[in-house]
C-alpha cells in the first residue's frame, strides 16, 4: 500500500458530502411515497423495483440540478412518472395505464399524503398479522413472490377473476383495519 499524500485523503469535497447527506435525508422522507406511486402503476413488482432503482439513480445523479424552492417529493414523482410512461412506451406493454394527466393528479394527491405514510405502514403491520390461511397464501403469492393473478388462480384451481375478487376483499379489509388502527391511536 502506498502512503497517499494528505491531499488524496478522503473526504475531498465537503460540499459533495453535505449534498449526499441532504439527498439521503430527503429520500428517506419520500421513498415510501415514490415506491407506492410506482408499484401502483406497474403491476409486476420486479419491474416496479427496477424502475424505483432507475429513479433513485437519476435522482442521485441530477440532485445538483434540483431547485430547492420546490417540493423534493414532487420533483422525484415527476421523474418517476416519466420513467413509468417510458416503461410502457418502450416495452410495448399490453397493459393499459393511466394517462399522463391522471398520473400527475395521482402524484399530487400522494404528495399531500406523504406524512401519513409511516403511520399507515405501522398500522398495516398489525393488520397483516390478522390475515391467515388461504388469504395469506394468496397475498404472499401476489406480493412476495410476484405471481400473476391468473397463475395464482391456476395454483388454487380457480379462476383469475375469483382470485381478483379475493385480493380486493383482502385489501378492503386491510384498508378498514388500518383506518381503525389509526382512529384508535388518534393518528
Amino acid at each position: 500500500m502506498s502512503q497517499p499524500p494528505e491531499s488524496d485523503l478522503p473526504p475531498t469535497d465537503p460540499q459533495n458530502i453535505a449534498a449526499m447527506r441532504e439527498l439521503a435525508a430527503l429520500w428517506v422522507q419520500s421513498q415510501s411515497v415514490v415506491s407506492a406511486y410506482i408499484t401502483a402503476n406497474v403491476f409486476d413488482l420486479h419491474h416496479a423495483e427496477d424502475l424505483l432503482q432507475d429513479v433513485a439513480q437519476i435522482v442521485a445523479e441530477k440532485f445538483a440540478t434540483y431547485d430547492r424552492r420546490h417540493s423534493f417529493v414532487a420533483w422525484v414523482l415527476g421523474i418517476a412518472r416519466n420513467r413509468i410512461l417510458k416503461y410502457y412506451r418502450t416495452k410495448a406493454r399490453d397493459r393499459v395505464v393511466l394517462s399522463e394527466v391522471a398520473l400527475i393528479r395521482l402524484g399530487e394527491v400522494l404528495e399531500q399524503h406523504r406524512y401519513e405514510s409511516e403511520a399507515r405502514r405501522e398500522a398495516l403491520r398489525q393488520c397483516l398479522q390478522q390475515v391467515s390461511g388461504r388469504r395469506r397464501d394468496v397475498l404472499e403469492l401476489r406480493y412476495r413472490d410476484n405471481v400473476k393473478v391468473a397463475e395464482i388462480g391456476a395454483r388454487f384451481g380457480t379462476s383469475a377473476s375469483a382470485i381478483s375478487v379475493m385480493l380486493h376483499r383482502i385489501r378492503a379489509a386491510l384498508y378498514d383495519c388500518i383506518e381503525r388502527q389509526l382512529a384508535k391511536s388518534g393518528a
Partner: protein, 586 residues
C-alpha cells in the same frame, strides 16, 4: 353499497394489471374530478406499496441477521435458504433492511473503532501492560486481529503451537519460532517480521508483545501508535519502520529506519509515568538491565537484512513504468505460496515504488483456494478461480476515492456454461466484515466482473462500477461502464479508472475504451479486497488472473497507456487502437 364501494374494485384490478379500457376510463375520470376519491386512491396506493414491502421484510431481516455473524464462505447456505424461501430469482432480493439493523451495525463499527483508539491512547499514555488489554477483552468472541502472511523454514519452539501460512490470529496467539522466519500482518496495517529464535504474542489490535528475539516492524500512518511491548521496554511507533532485538535479562536494542519511535520502561503502576525517549530515523539505542535510560549505539541495519528480503519478495525481471501511488501489485510469476495441490495459500503483494507495505492476498480455507497454473495465460502463470468456491482476500488495504485498476485475465470455458444465470465478480472492495451499505453516506464499493444480476447478466462481459449504496430499497451505481463479451481463453488487459476528482470513470480492454460514465460517489476506505467473488453473494469468477495492480490515483492518459503497454508486452497481448470511445451512459 356506496359509490366508493362500487368503484374500489377498479383500483384493485388496476393494481393487478387487469383493468379493461372502460374500467380505466372510469377510474381516470373519477380521479380527475372527485377529490375525495383521489385521496382514497392515494391511500390505497400507499397500502399496496406497504404490503409488498412488509411481506418481504421478515425474510430479509432473517437473511441480514445471519450476514452479521457470517464470513463469506459460510453464506452459501444462507443464500440458498433465502432463495428457496423467497422462491424467486435473486434479482428481486433487493435488500431493504430495517433502519434499526443498520443503526446497530453502525454503532458496532463505531464501538470497534473506539476500542482501537482507546487501546492506542492507553499505550501512548504508558499504562501498564496488564491494564491496557482490558479494553479489548470486552469482545465476547475472539475476532481476527492479524494474519500470518509468510512462513519461511519455520521450526516451532518446543511446546509452542504450530501455525499455518495464512492463519488468522486472534488475541493471545503466541508465535514462538525456534528458527526460520514469519511475517504477521495486523489488520491495522502494521507488518511484523519475526526471526527465530523469537517469542511473540498478539495482544490486541494495535499491540504485540515480544518476550524475546528479533523483529522488524513496518507501520503505516493509519496504524499510528502501534505498540510493541517487551519485558523491559515498551515501544510505541509513530508511523515508521524499525527493528528490535530483545535479549535475555532485560537487554533491548532499537534501530529506527524511518520515522520516530517512543520508548520507555514499563510503568509499575497506572498513575506512575516513566521517562519517555524519542528515537528518530537512522538512530539506535540500547537498554541495559542496570540502567534506567537508553544509551546510543551504532545503527546496524545489516542484522535485519533477511527481514527486508522477506518483505520485498523476489526481484522482478521487469518493473512496471509507474510506482507512484501504487497500492497493491500481485503478479502470478512472483511470490505465490501454494499447498501440496498447487492451490494458492498466499499471493504476495510486491513492494515497489510507493507500495511499501505488503497487503498479501490470502486464502485460509482449503476448499476456497484457487489453483496456480504454470502456463495458463500466454505461457505465463496465472491463478485460476473455479467459479464455484475460489477466492482470495487481501489484508486491509487503504484505497482512495480516485482509483485505477489494471489487470490481466481470461475467462475459463466454464464461464460459457449455458446454465449460468448470474455474473461472477473478479474484484470487490468490500471484504469481510462486509458493510452492506445502508445509504449513500458510506464510501462506495468498487466492483469489477460480469453484471451480477440475472436480468443484466451476459457471460464474459466485464462491467466496472462503484456501488454507492442504497437509497431506500434502490441501489445507486456510480461510474458504471459495461464492455462487451470477450469470450473464453482470451487474455485481456483490463483497466478501470475511477476519477472522482473530475467526475469521470472509464473502462478499457486492451487499450480500447468502452465508454465513460459519471463518477459521483466517494469510495475511500481501508478494507480487505476480495479477488474472485462478490462480498456476500455467491457470484464467483470463472477464469485466470495473472496480474493485478491497484493505484491510489486516477492515472493520466499517458500513464494508462504505459501501464497497459507494459502488461500487454509481458503477456503477449495485442492492443486495440485506442481511438474510438463508445457509449456514454447518462
Amino acid at each position: 353499497m356506496t359509490d366508493y364501494d362500487r368503484i374500489a374494485p377498479l383500483v384493485s384490478r388496476y393494481f393487478d394489471g387487469l383493468s379493461t379500457r372502460e374500467e380505466l376510463a372510469e377510474l381516470e375520470e373519477r380521479l380527475l374530478t372527485d377529490d375525495e376519491f383521489a385521496r382514497q386512491v392515494s391511500r390505497w396506493c400507499l397500502m399496496h406499496g406497504h404490503v409488498a414491502e412488509l411481506l418481504t421484510e421478515s425474510a430479509l431481516h432473517q437473511l441480514m441477521d445471519q450476514f452479521k455473524s457470517s464470513s463469506p464462505g459460510a453464506r452459501a447456505e444462507i443464500l440458498n435458504a433465502a432463495a428457496a424461501a423467497a422462491a424467486k430469482p435473486l434479482k428481486s432480493v433487493r435488500f431493504l433492511p430495517s433502519a434499526g439493523f443498520f443503526r446497530s451495525r453502525i454503532l458496532w463499527i463505531g464501538a470497534l473503532a473506539a476500542t482501537v483508539a482507546l487501546a492506542a491512547l492507553a499505550h501512548v499514555l504508558w499504562r501498564s501492560t496488564q491494564k491496557a488489554p482490558q479494553v479489548a477483552t470486552a469482545a465476547k468472541t475472539p475476532s481476527r486481529l492479524a494474519t500470518l502472511t509468510q512462513l519461511t523454514n519455520a521450526v516451532w519452539a518446543p511446546g509452542a503451537a504450530p501455525y499455518h501460512h495464512g492463519e488468522q490470529l486472534v488475541q493471545g496467539n503466541r508465535i514462538a519460532l525456534q528458527s526460520g522466519m514469519a511475517k504477521i500482518t495486523f489488520d491495522c496495517g502494521a507488518e511484523i517480521v519475526l526471526e527465530g529464535p523469537c517469542d511473540f504474542q498478539v495482544r490486541d489490535a494495535m499491540v504485540g508483545y515480544l518476550r524475546s528475539g528479533k523483529i522488524t516492524a513496518d507501520v503505516p500512518r493509519r496504524a499510528f501508535a502501534f505498540a510493541i511491548l517487551s519485558p523491559a521496554v515498551d515501544f510505541v511507533d509513530l508511523g515508521t519502520s524499525f527493528g528490535l532485538n530483545i535479549g535475555a535479562e532485560g537487554h533491548a536494542e532499537l534501530h529506527v529506519f524511518r520515522g520516530e519511535v517512543l520508548c520507555s520502561r514499563p510503568s509499575p503502576a497506572e498513575n506512575v509515568r516513566n521517562a519517555v525517549y524519542h528515537v528518530t530515523a537512522n538512530n539506535a539505542v540500547e537498554f541495559r538491565p542496570a540502567a534506567d535510560g537508553p544509551s546510543d549505539i551504532a545503527m546496524n541495519e545489516r542484522q535485519f537484512a533477511d527481514h527486508f528480503t522477506l518483505r520485498r519478495g523476489t526481484k522482478l525481471a521487469a518493473e512496471p513504468p509507474l510506482g507512484n501511488h501504487l497500492a497493491l501489485w500481485l503478479a502470478a510469476d512472483s511470490g505465490v505460496t501454494t499447498d501440496a495441490q498447487k492451490r494458492v495459500i498466499a499471493w504476495q503483494d510486491i513492494l515497489y515504488g510507493d507500495n511499501q507495505s505488503g497487503e498479501d492476498a490470502i486464502q485460509v480455507e482449503e476448499a476456497a483456494r484457487p489453483l496456480l497454473v504454470p502456463a495458463a495465460l500466454a505461457g505465463m502463470p496465472a491463478v485460476r478461480f473455479d467459479g464455484n468456491s475460489d477466492y482470495l482476500l487481501t489484508t486491509p488495504l487503504a484505497t482512495t476515492d480516485d482509483q485505477t485498476v489494471a489487470l490481466v485475465c481470461q475467462f475459463s470455458p466454464s464461464a460459457a456454461d449455458k446454465t449460468r444465470r448470474w455474473g461472477g465478480q473478479l474484484l470487490n472492495y468490500d471484504g469481510p466484515p462486509s458493510r452492506y451499505l445502508s445509504d449513500t453516506l458510506e464510501p462506495g464499493v468498487l466492483q469489477i466482473g460480469e453484471p451480477l444480476l440475472e436480468s443484466e447478466f451476459r457471460p464474459t462481459l466485464f462491467s466496472a462500477q462503484v456501488f454507492a449504496g442504497f437509497i431506500g430499497s434502490a441501489t445507486v451505481e456510480s461510474g458504471r461502464v459495461d464492455a462487451v463479451p470477450v469470450g473464453i481463453n482470451t487474455p485481456i488487459v483490463l483497466t478501470y479508472r475511477y476519477d472522482l476528482t473530475h467526475s469521470r470513470a472509464a473502462l478499457a480492454i486492451n487499450g480500447k475504451q468502452f465508454g465513460e460514465s459519471r463518477a459521483f460517489a466517494p469510495q475511500a476506505i481501508t478494507s480487505r479486497k476480495i479477488i474472485g467473488r462478490h462480498a456476500w453473494m455467491q457470484n464467483y469468477f470463472h477464469g485466470d488472473l495473472a496480474e493485478l495492480m491497484i493505484y491510489n490515483k486516477a492515472l493520466s492518459p499517458r500513464e494508462m497507456a504505459e501501464t497497459t503497454a507494459y502488461l500487454a508486452k509481458k503477456y503477449s497481448i495485442v492492443l486495440t487502437a485506442a481511438n474510438d470511445a463508445h457509449e456514454v451512459r447518462p
